[in-house]
């Protein structure tokens, strides 16, 4: 179940961060990427992407065997 949901969580979170990045570029005064409220979800996002990558690599290696 987790393996099926994980790519969607990564995808959705990536889109959220892309939107925030665009807003920050358009209006730097909003400081979308510089405040503490950004740092925690971004850290979680990094962990999720790392986990998803490991899961994908392991699965690919299993499929090759």
């Amino acid at each position: 179940m987790f393996e099926r949901i994980l790519p969607h969580i990564c995808l959705d979170t990536a889109v959220v961060f892309m939107v925030l990045w665009v807003i920050d570029r358009v209006n730097p005064a909003m400081n979308m990427l510089g405040r503490d409220v950004f740092k925690l979800p971004f850290g979680v996002f990094l962990v999720l992407v790392f986990t998803e990558s490991v899961v994908l690599i392991v699965r690919q290696r299993k499929e090759r065997k």
Binding site: H8, V16, R25, V26, N27, P28, M32, V37
Partner: protein
């Protein structure tokens, strides 16, 4: 699970994620302000930078039927004598005159645009001040509440310094923060106002110049009194605006522009704002935080479109500087 349903659920998650972020980023603090950290500001200039001059010689007695010699208050009291009164306060619907302050408010309305211009003369720099939210540095309050608490004759929203960690903050001669952020507006102790681009801002020299106020938002709008055509900002389209202009020491302008459809006004582009300040005869002018932050208060009442966003600071003119911060 069908593909359209999966896509729908993903989009739903993205929307929820963005709204949760927006709540924590800038909605929560507006409705549930948190306690602010104590900051020990550095004194750059005394709160009354230009003391009232004392007449050098003892006035000679004058015959009773002659008018007594007028004593001007403040360093610019004589220069702008025709703008000030002998001591009485004359207040009308759109003007305020006293011995030290003269403000004339103009509301311009034309198709697709509504804005206010305040023409300001002061006899001494201490009558042009900044104020933070009601709990001090770092806090946020409604602009009208801050204006009322500081006896502001007229006030506009400031640079919203608390939305960022960067940007030099000097208010009423006190240095609160000295990090770099975009273009800078400096109001010096002698009443001159300078606008500096991000590249030419020397923080050390700036603090040594003993500024009375420094705002960090921008962009700067005029170059040698002429409207600039390129701005250090990505938000140059039509927008609600708040800005300050400088003609000469003691003579300033506040401008606030409604936008986003409020009162039928769609706001001003940065070019239009710069051209407005050029037409007012300003030497320098500086854009402050706009959008939903932009607001102007007259006699403690919000006269711009009431967006309802709390702000971290205002710039204001007062006849009672002793009641202000700093």
């Amino acid at each position: 699970m069908s593909l359209p349903l999966v896509v729908f659920l993903d989009l739903l998650c993205i929307a929820v994620g963005l709204n949760v972020f927006a709540w924590f980023h800038h909605v929560r603090d507006a409705y549930f302000p948190r306690e602010t950290a104590e900051v020990d500001p550095v004194v750059l200039i005394t709160p009354s930078p230009a003391p009232t001059p004392v007449p050098e010689s003892t006035p000679t007695p004058v015959p009773e039927d002659d008018e007594p010699e007028r004593v001007y208050s403040g360093v610019w009291g004589e220069k702008f004598a025709d703008r000030f009164t002998d001591g009485e306060v004359i207040r009308t619907e759109n003007s305020y005159r006293s011995a030290n302050v003269s403000v004339t408010l103009t509301h311009v309305e034309r198709e697709g645009l509504s804005y206010h211009v305040a023409d300001i003369y002061i006899s001494d720099l201490k009558y042009l001040r900044s104020a933070f939210g009601e709990k001090g540095y770092g806090s946020r309050s409604m602009a009208a509440d801050i204006a009322s608490a500081n006896d502001a004759v007229i006030a506009i929203s400031g640079d919203y310094y608390s939305a960022r960690r960067e940007g030099i903050v000097v208010r009423n001669g006190l240095l609160y923060r000295d990090t770099r952020f975009e273009d800078v507006c400096v109001l010096l102790g002698d009443g001159r106002m300078l606008t500096l681009s991000d590249r030419e801002t020397d923080l050390e020299a700036l603090t040594q110049a003993a500024p009375w106020q420094v705002w960090s938002f921008g962009p700067r709008l005029l170059e040698n009194g002429k409207a600039m055509t390129k701005f250090n900002s990505a938000v140059v389209r039509k927008n609600p605006r708040s800005a300050i202009g400088y003609v000469e020491p003691g003579h300033y302008y506040f401008v606030q522009v409604d936008g986003r459809g409020a009162y039928g006004s769609h706001g001003m582009t940065m070019t239009e704002l710069a051209e407005l300040f050029e037409s007012l005869g300003c030497e320098t002018a500086y854009n402050l935080d706009g959008g939903q932050t932009a607001g102007m208060c007259w006699d403690g009442e919000l006269i711009s479109f009431p967006y309802g966003r709390s702000v971290s600071d205002i710039i204001y003119i007062t006849d009672s500087p002793e009641n202000g911060e700093g």
